[in-house]
């Protein structure tokens, strides 16, 4: 996702107080490169953090580029998590870039993106 498009996209979410402050890094979003249909796509997101009271991941948002509901999920963590990591299965309405944004206890925001090609909908996807 190009930066200008990303900022405009993030502007849709009131909680992204300052979209400019979301930095790439510390977050690793894993999704398969290809998915047959978008119904059940394995997803794992991991965030580097000591997960102490003083320094931990508060939450991770999963944002879709194309789903009717752009915010796919929000996962809440804390010092009792031990690690900031979640594995699940997502549903994608067509090929798209999925973004994971982690909010830290110090207010900073970090992100990673991954593109999934949903091959069933290739007929109507713009290339």
């Amino acid at each position: 996702m190009k930066r200008r498009g990303f900022l405009a996209f993030m502007g849709m979410f009131p909680w992204a107080a300052s979209a400019q402050s979301v930095r790439h890094g510390r977050v690793k979003l894993e999704l398969p490169v290809l998915a047959d249909n978008g119904n059940s796509v394995p997803m794992k997101v991991t965030v580097e953090s000591p997960m102490t009271e003083a320094d931990h991941v508060k939450l991770v948002r999963l944002i879709s580029e194309r789903n009717p509901e752009r915010q796919m999920a929000v996962f809440h963590f804390g010092p009792r998590s031990g690690a900031a990591e979640v594995t699940s299965r997502v549903r994608l309405a067509g090929s798209q870039t999925v973004t994971a944004i982690a909010e830290m206890s110090d207010g900073s925001q970090w992100m990673d993106s991954a593109h999934v090609q949903v091959t069933l909908s290739a007929c109507v996807d713009e290339s």
Binding site: P32, V33, L34, A35, D36, N37, N39, P68, A93, G94, H115, Q117, T119, L120, S121, A122, C123, V124, D125, E126, S127
Partner: protein, 711 residues
């Protein structure tokens, strides 16, 4: 033949990733590892052979050649040294989709990939030149590349092959300079397709041609009523039949695996199968028509696709011209029926199939076998016809892999009969449209109302949410019609009968322009105006529609009267980013026997990469569309398709093919498709000519049900 010394030199250059000796049965491509890759699109061999990679599919639409022309143009190589190679889907997965989209659908191959293909060629050229310049100790700017030869200052010369390894080590330039299409010497030329020699010499391979040692064959029967299931199978009846290896029962499919296909098919024929027809055993073509007509009248479950002005007010108290149009289900009828060969062995899956999207086949195969993407290999071949059947729906791949999974360790070729293929298609949707219009004093329409009642491919096949409930394919050419009319209201009633629908060549533009352009013709007639002049006056002066309409009418000699007994029809529409128009000249006997004298097809695709291929596509489009127009009709009885083979689903024969005249008028500034747009204007041009000849307005297809036959 590469000598051992050359091999070692090259392998040293390639570095890591040398994988000689990997098992690739039925390989159609040479192993790529001995040639340095300049970038993902271009490899150059020491013997000057240039390998250009092609990611999408080749089903006779010629894009494999056109795409390579674009790369070769910017690369500046000798076209005679070019060899086009398919992209390997396994490499695509491992290299994080470095080749981008692999689908040949939506007439998108050239228009969507032209920029990065040209960049790929230009980038490779700049790297080769930079390598030569570096070797000579001169500025790259002082060197030129043409025809595979690099020339430098003071008469220095070298060839691509000699500097390829060095070039492969350089950093690819980010923004290579592209040539102006005005300067094209390879692209833009009617170069013969690269696969012609193989086709002529019978070396070409299609998915169906896969042959593996120890291969088993599977014949399949799917429930004849869509949505039905297998109730019971009496295996005992075919017990002990020669060659039969296994009987497989899935939800809605029964497969017999044998040591040759004939035995599999005969055993399947003899196998008693009890089907549970499910809820749709009473559906007929008539009940479907009623269902759609109810959609045209309904107040609920209807969305507005386009609105301007106040149609209700404009139509009130006016003389309203009203018409209802109908187009039937159509089958794809690819010459090569559906099938898939697969081998699941020790956690690795190999697939051989004809597909319009090798990536989709790869993903579908992996998901069905439960094997990681990295362990799947889809072996690329030409397709014996696609027409949209082999793009989105990868049902034949899932089925072939399911069967191979049940026969793990043994390669299995699953192949459908023509009957199975025709009765288990994803059909071009049925559609019913109601138009209502009122004309002003000057005869121009002041209001146009239309409602389409039709299934949604996107909602049912792709299972994607529709924005505002609108399926753009179902309302194509009607919601976005180009005529300047002050009051318009366009509605869509999504109605999904149980018949599976899919993308048939030209999709919504295969039927909606027939409906729209016929209705516009009705308005022209009601206004007492010439159909060409009428359209011309309604199209914006600077529109590309008007330009192509003018060019086609001119080529057809519209303003001069045709010979006695010969009548003309005209149509214009945009489709897949290109602008098309058609004029048909025909004569009709009093028995309704139609002789098409001329078919003049105009197209403005923005740029023309291979004019000869564009002509071929227009000719092919004519065959496909004329077949559909005169005879195409998939009818339903007892919930199942009645047609089975070419005896009851007729297609055009060689002797019936009319001459197609092409008006190729690319106006530049954009890139439009060619695979599908050609069909869009044909049906209305023919039907409008039939009206001019007989006074009978065709509002329902096919023509043989309206009293017309091809002479």
């Amino acid at each position: 033949m590469t000598t051992r010394r050359e091999f070692l030199k090259i392998s040293a250059a390639v570095g890591g990733g040398l994988t000689v000796g990997f098992h690739m049965p039925f390989a159609s491509a040479q192993p790529q590892v001995l040639s340095p890759e300049i970038n993902a699109w271009v490899l150059v061999r020491p013997d000057e052979r240039v390998i250009i990679r092609y990611a999408r599919s080749e089903m006779g639409q010629g894009s494999m050649t056109s795409a390579a022309q674009l790369v070769a143009e910017e690369l500046g190589c000798d076209w005679k040294k070019v060899h086009v190679e398919y992209v390997d889907t396994n490499a695509q997965v491992r290299r994080k989709r470095v080749w981008g989209d692999m689908a040949s659908v939506g007439s998108r191959t050239i228009r969507n990939s032209q920029e990065y293909l040209r960049k790929g060629g230009a980038q490779a050229r700049e790297m080769l030149v930079a390598a030569a310049a570096k070797g000579w100790g001169v500025e790259p700017g002082k060197c030129k590349a043409a025809n595979g030869v690099i020339s430098g200052p003071r008469g220095r010369k070298t060839t691509f092959g000699k500097v390829a390894s060095a070039a492969a080590k350089l950093t690819p330039p980010e923004n290579p300079k592209l040539k102006d299409p005005k300067d094209w010497t390879i692209a833009g030329k009617p170069i013969p397709r690269v696969d012609i020699p193989d086709i002529v010499a019978a070396r070409i391979r299609y998915g169906i041609d896969a042959q593996l040692p120890g291969m088993a064959y599977a014949a399949v029967a799917q429930c004849p009523v869509f949505g039905g299931t297998v109730k019971s199978v009496d295996e005992a009846v075919i017990q002990g039949r020669r060659g039969v290896m296994k009987v497989l029962k899935f939800d809605d499919t029964v497969a017999v695996v044998a040591d040759n296909w004939w035995r599999a098919k005969e055993a399947l024929k003899a196998l008693p199968i009890e089907w549970d027809a499910g809820k749709n055993g009473a559906v007929t073509s008539d009940t479907i028509k009623e269902f759609l007509r109810a959609g045209l009248d309904a107040e609920n479950d209807v969305v507005v696709a386009k609105q301007a002005g106040d149609v209700a007010a404009a139509l009130k108290d006016a003389k309203v011209i009203e018409a209802e149009y109908y187009t039937p289900y159509l089958a794809h009828c690819t010459m090569e029926p559906m099938g898939c060969t697969a081998l699941l062995k020790e956690g690795r899956l190999d697939v051989w199939t004809s597909t319009q999207n090798a990536e989709a086949s790869h993903a579908a195969a992996a998901a069905t076998a439960g094997v990681p993407l990295e362990n799947v290999y889809v072996h690329r071949t030409q397709l014996g016809g696609g027409f949209g059947r082999r793009g989105g729906a990868q049902d034949f791949v899932r089925q072939g892999v399911q069967i191979a999974k049940a026969m793990e360790g043994t390669p299995v070729k699953t192949l459908w009969t023509r009957e199975e293929d025709m009765q288990h298609d994803f059909y071009r949707p049925v559609s019913m449209t109601r138009f209502r219009a009122a004309l002003g004093e000057d005869g121009k329409p002041v209001a146009l109302y239309s409602r389409v009642a039709a299934p949604s491919i996107i909602a049912t096949l792709l299972k994607l949410p529709l924005k505002a409930g609108i399926d753009p394919q179902a309302v194509a050419a009607i919601a976005d019609q180009p005529y300047q009319i002050a009051n318009v209201r366009m509605e869509y009633a999504q109605r999904n009968p149980h018949v599976p629908v899919g993308f048939w060549r030209t999709v919504g533009h295969s039927q909606n322009p027939f409906m729209r352009e016929s209705f516009i013709d009705e308005l022209a007639h009601a206004a007492g105006k010439d159909p060409y002049a009428y359209r011309r006056a309604l199209l914006p002066a600077d529109s590309r529609e008007r330009k192509i309409l003018d060019a086609t009418a001119k080529a057809a000699g519209w303003t001069k009267s045709p010979a006695k007994g010969v009548h003309r029809g005209i149509a214009v529409t945009e489709a897949y980013g290109s602008y098309t128009s058609a004029v048909c000249e025909l004569s009709v006997s009093d028995k309704g026997a139609v002789t098409i004298k001329r078919l003049v097809l105009g197209v403005d695709p923005g740029h023309a990469v291979n004019p000869d291929n564009i002509l071929a596509q227009m000719q092919g489009s004519s065959v496909f569309m004329l077949s559909a127009l005169f005879w195409g009709d998939i009818t339903i009885k007892d919930g199942r398709v009645e047609q089975s083979n070419f005896n009851d689903y007729r297609v055009l024969r060689l002797a019936e093919m009319p001459k197609v005249e092409l008006v190729l008028a690319p106006t530049g500034g954009f890139w439009g498709g060619i695979g599908e747009p050609g069909q869009a204007s044909i049906a209305p041009a023919v039907c409008n000519a039939l009206f001019a000849a007989t006074g009978k307005r065709v509002r329902s297809l096919p023509l043989n049900k309206e009293g017309f036959e091809l002479a």
